[in-house]
Symmetry: C2
Subunit: 661 residues, 2 copies
């Protein structure tokens, strides 16, 4: 163990294991998680080459091998609980993704949810025995967010009782689905349904794309990998071009909508049913944000405790870089954010579980709020995390740029969350739509419930988007409850500002739609402030659940830092709205510096509490033992360009060059 990092651990003021238990949801959960993780890291079958040393094709190969292995091992161990499977897979995948991820995440659940009983009997056994490996083909080259714009067609031919599927244009080629390129032999294809001369919008069809025994593409199918990406090298995101591909009528998923043999279309009873899955996945992404940021902070903070550089006092030894105020200012607010997002992720999961119970009983009342919240928080947390990972990486100096740090991998694997499952700006605007609607309801005197109820209060208080000299500033910048209030008022004011912008545009005789588009900047800002309020609030509320004094104390410091750092970064909003005075904003800056010093002795312990196993972190900089340099050297020496002392390019180009000059 590196002596610096050992000393850091000795200086911590709280019990790390107890905090880990809180993060896991109880000591027994920690125990079980570690049991499952040890099944992976003690398993020689999971020893593998660093994927960064492999070619794309080798990486894909290794990932498919691992997918197959995991299927067998999970059955062998009898692990069937979704959370435990998730934990096992996360450990096995480290910073990378599963080649067959979409088979489990989308193909199987869609079969479960949208097959009629007869279809279930046919397809589920095939998919569960991996005779059929599937993916979910929704997005097209020219169409992402806007589903109605999809161009793929499925036209019913009653003569043969088949659907004929086509990609009528280049932009209609299915593009991006994971596992589509090489792995899957079936795809659930979203296509515009036409029957009896009428269009009925998007429906889902099971389309065989490769021969089940030879794996060769079937006639009419052009399928392949979409080529190298920023990350996701393990995954064969694919394209699919359909040219008069015929599938039997029974391959349309018919639990809800149907096409009768004669071509008669039968409408689905409700359209809300697929709503829940989206909400679920977006809630999961909030947790993914927390986890990616926690990993990044673990690497950067541990490394900053063993890295010595430059000087603070001349003549003294080089200090740990964690002693620099600028380094603390980069990392500790992100550490606070990682904790905040962890608790928000827990909240979202609990809320989702509670509400899905209601949904199963036909009660959809809370779904719109959760939908709006999950959309905004997905965007808010992924954006923050996305830039936060890069701050962590760059805070490691040059070595953060090496793949051995794992930070490049964490970034490229995480960054698509800003785009997929609902592009972030679109998400923010969805939340804004809910906020503006709620604002108008509040203004019309309706009593709101749930998290937007503050819009009633705001209305009551007649908050103005200008500093009200008369309003006494009662904010206590050291009191979290008071800060939650001030974040709430900021959100209320910005929602009002956005709503008024729309109003003004309408008064200039703009259409409703143009007024919306011309207020979009304000709307995104309002959503952002709303989400920020929710995060500060949930972090603060979480503190109420924590009985251990030492842990309560350090988490309170983190929560305070989180709240005050947000105020500094958006001080214009708080000043502009008269929520804080100029001297208070200056005090906030001073207070932040004090909090940084206060957190300094607990920084390493706080990342230790995330308890990310070295094998999962896979970072020479973030090693638990702090022995960075020896392992960096070892890693470098084993990298492929060092397999020979002299690279062939010397003989091919450099030596001949001399004679040509």
């Amino acid at each position: 163990m590196n002596p610096d990092i050992m000393k850091e651990r000795q200086n911590a003021t709280f019990n790390v294991e107890k905090l880990t238990n809180i993060l896991d949801g109880g000591p027994e959960k920690t125990k079980r998680r570690r049991e499952i993780e040890s099944l992976v890291f003690s398993d020689p079958d999971f020893h593998e080459e660093d994927p960064n040393f492999l070619s794309r094709s080798e990486r894909y190969d290794q990932a498919v091998r691992k997918s197959a292995q995991m299927i067998l091992k999970l059955r062998e161990y009898g692990i069937a609980d979704p959370e435990e499977i998730y934990c096992y897979k996360k450990m096995a995948q480290g910073n990378h993704h599963e080649a067959m991820g979409l088979h489990f995440a989308m193909f199987l659940p869609t079969l479960h949810n949208q097959c009629d009983p007869q279809q279930s009997r046919k397809w589920l056994p095939l998919a569960e025995s991996f005779q059929v490996i599937g993916t979910y083909a929704q997005t097209e080259m020219g169409h992402g967010t806007h589903l109605r714009g999809l161009e793929t067609t499925a036209t019913y031919d009653p003569a043969t009782q088949e659907f004929v599927l086509n990609s009528p244009t280049v932009s209609s080629i299915k593009w991006w689905p994971g596992g589509l390129g090489k792995t899957s032999n079936h795809a659930i294809v979203l296509a515009q349904l036409y029957t009896q001369g009428n269009g009925h919008g998007l429906h889902a069809f099971i389309v065989p794309i490769r021969d089940m025994s030879t794996h060769e593409p079937l006639p009419g199918i052009v399928v392949g990998d979409i080529g190298p990406k920023f990350g996701f090298n393990e995954v064969d995101n694919g394209f699919l071009k359909l040219d008069n591909v015929r599938i039997p009528r029974e391959n349309m998923l018919m639990k809800y909508a149907k096409v009768e043999p004669d071509g008669t279309y039968v409408k689905p009873p409700s359209s809300k049913l697929t709503y829940g899955t989206m909400v679920f996945i977006r809630s999961l992404i909030v947790g993914e944000s927390a986890s990616a940021l926690a990993k990044s902070c673990t690497i950067a903070i541990r490394y900053s405790s063993v890295r010595h550089q430059s000087e603070i006092r001349p003549g003294e030894p080089e200090p740990q870089i964690l002693d620099y105020q600028t380094q603390q200012y980069k990392l500790f607010p992100l550490l606070a954010t990682a904790y905040a997002f962890t608790f928000v992720g827990q909240y979202m999961k609990q809320t989702y579980n509670r509400i899905s119970g209601d949904i199963n009983e036909g009660d959809f009342s809370e779904l719109p709020e959760l939908h709006a919240l999950s959309a905004g928080l997905k965007a808010f947390t992924t954006w923050e995390t996305n830039s936060g990972i890069e701050v962590c990486r760059m805070s490691c100096g040059g070595h953060g740029y090496s793949r051995s740090s794992a930070l490049p991998d964490i970034y490229v694997e995480f960054t698509p969350t800003c785009t997929y499952e609902g592009e972030n700006t679109v998400m923010m605007l969805q939340t804004a739509r809910y906020l503006v609607k709620s604002y108008r309801q509040a203004k019309a005197g309706q009593q709101l419930s749930g998290i937007v109820s503050y819009l009633n209060e705001a209305e009551h208080q007649r908050v103005q988007p200008q500093p009200v000299a008369a309003r006494p500033t009662v904010v206590n910048i050291n009191d979290l409850a008071s800060l939650v209030e001030v974040y709430k008022l900021r959100a209320a004011i910005l929602v009002e500002l956005a709503a008024k912008s729309i109003q003004q545009e309408l008064q200039r005789r703009k259409s409703q739609e143009d007024a919306w588009n011309n207020s979009a900047i304000d709307l995104v800002r309002a959503s952002d402030a709303h989400c920020h309020y929710v995060v500060v609030k949930l972090f603060t509320e979480k503190l109420g659940e924590i009985s251990d004094t030492a842990i309560h104390s350090v988490l309170s410091t983190l929560a305070l830092l989180y709240a005050l750092h947000g105020i500094t970064n958006h001080s214009g909003d708080f000043l502009q709205d008269g929520l804080l005075s100029v001297p208070q904003v200056l005090q906030v800056s001073v207070r932040i510096k004090e909090l940084l010093s206060q957190l300094r002795p607990n920084a390493v312990a706080l990342v230790d509490a995330f308890d990310t196993h070295d094998k999962k972190l896979n970072s020479v900089l973030g090693r638990y033992d702090g022995n960075v340099y020896e392992h960096m050297f070892e890693w470098a020496r084993s990298s492929p360009l060092n397999s020979t002392e002299v690279h062939e390019s010397f003989h091919k180009y450099l030596k001949p060059l001399r004679s040509k000059l």
Copy 2:
């Protein structure tokens, strides 16, 4: 040509070619640049595979081939002007780097600057004929920014008249130098010189590392590639471990300091002499920022003009995504930034050239200011560009994540500029040191000259870091001169705030050094505000040189957007300091929306004016003709995972899996 992008070009209000000429520095420069570029793209020897389709080793191989080729071709064409060479190489390299870059950028210049006449006669012909290929080995695994911390030793042995070089620890292993791993047979090694029992600090030594004919590492040398990185896959950044490596006394670079045969050390006459190179490289990086951001904006804006998505008005066709206010708000401020940085880059180059003339005549008076300015602007522009590239990438939706967009490549190749040639936070603090020193001089009544002279005025005006209700707000948010003033005052106030923070820390009996560290957040903020002021000022001044009315008009709009967007993003500073009133900050938001609409018709023309050749951009999304989807499909189909229809992993893992279940 895609009809949408054609229409965009027809709608432009200015002559694109004339603006290109302004960016190039005159029509004849544009002409010559295009001539040189055409030498590359019309040359079949430069046709190559997309590096993204190759393994690391193949990429390195291709890059070495290209390096050798460029050497021969440049001699063949007789291109010898450094700027023309730069232009030729940039075109040949596209978004990637040169394998032998450090031979040209550091090894040769160091020989030129630090060899005594005898050494020059020996080494220059060898290096210029590529018998000797060299690199510059400064950083060590445990030591980057802080040169005095370097551990490599060179101990003089008078008995044999040799230096003995050693890497005494793991952390002392030379790490990161480009071309060190595989390409170079010599390195200029920076090491702590010991002779006659005394240490004399860092000196440079020419160390042979590989046999000149077999290219095998020499005895005592452990050399290799440091392994895969985020980017820079073409470059063999290397490590070098020295174990009692003996080199003749004559291999110490002895133009300035010397070691006599008996071991007597002779001090160099001045220490300022290597100062200039750093300033030069940092100034160049400002230009690199402009170019990386210009490329990214070109891709994102062209793609946004051909991409249709979602709906603004129901029932109407999907609009170009450039019509969304949120998309404009992401991209147009970055476009303005790209122009701003281009002009700042031009200014830095001119100033450097002017001042180096003075330096050659022994006049160092302007060097400290240029040094401070280049440090801060290097940090300011690279940070802004770094996040800006990612905003551009994510504004392209999913396709920005594909390597075919080129945006991942642009990002990973650019992002090290935030770290190398002076880590950005350290750079900001260097500038801050100059600002605080100047502030104290001003306060002591000294008349400052140059760009910091505003600190005199501020002192004169007794600006306080609190809103001065009495000070009449005379800022006109539509007048650039007025905005330059307000940025200047903000900088002055933040410099004062930082200086006062140091003062307060000193009063708490902190040492000078601790006071500095405890004020580092404020110091970075002050530098940032100073650089921001300089950029707004230089952009505004550039407008004065532009006579074409239409171009003047569109660039003025860009400059105004740049200035107002900065105010919105830092509105807290402007409000806190009482520089702007709350109603003015609200007006700024409204005005920004108007400017976005105003720029909309010129957006494509403004990126066209950067005149980045398709071959150099290498982006399917950023193609000049806008024919995005066809080429994305073509690119994907030619990617390596599609070289066979069935990947071997099917036979190896997926088929066998079925029988095991």
